[in-house]
Amino acid sequence: MSYIAMTTGFILILIGFYGALTNRNILRMIIAFTVANTGVNLVLVAVGYMRGRTAPILDAAVPVTEAAARIIDPIPQALVLTAIVIGVGVTALMLAFVYKLYATRGSLDISNYTELKW
């Protein structure tokens, strides 16, 4: 199962990069970035998965004494949690700039913004 999720994650990253590099509309580029972001998270969580084990939360189903033998690796999960929250922060920032660009220039096409091109 970790192979399935990992392959999906890698393919999502590739799809996201392709979309971000070929689309000319800024909003579409941001959408492609979120897709790639999801793919990275999927790969990271898949690395921590172990077959036949369960979630790292101790309760009646997983007593403390058996914890080390029953749970999966909690560290990638903690990292991905952080990554998702930062991801939405970055997306919000990009969207705010898109709004600003549109308000000043009235266009979403990246090829109209040539000031920084060289």
Partner: protein
């Protein structure tokens, strides 16, 4: 017996998922796709309940509550967008 029934239920849910996905891919207008999105979210709730049953972990159900909220808010956001409400 029960395992077999759970498998059958999962099969039905999977077919329903694929049908709703067909509508999501085809559906001519944005409203059609939102309906399909809503149905997909709710089928995912069923999927979560089935996963919780097979794993025997009741804590997964908290995620299902968040999904119910998500399906509601997602539809309302798109509906208000279609109306031009914000």
């Amino acid at each position: 017996m029960v395992d077999w029934l759970i498998h059958l239920a999962a099969l039905f849910a999977g077919v329903a998922f694929l049908l709703a996905l067909t509508r999501f891919i085809k559906g001519p207008s944005a409203a059609d796709r939102v309906v399909a999105f809503d149905v997909l979210t709710i089928i995912s709730i069923t999927g979560i309940v089935l996963a919780a049953l097979t794993e025997g972990r009741g804590i997964y159900l908290d995620v299902a509550l968040v999904y119910a909220l998500l399906s509601f808010l997602g539809v309302i956001v798109v509906a208000r967008y279609l109306e031009g409400g914000f």
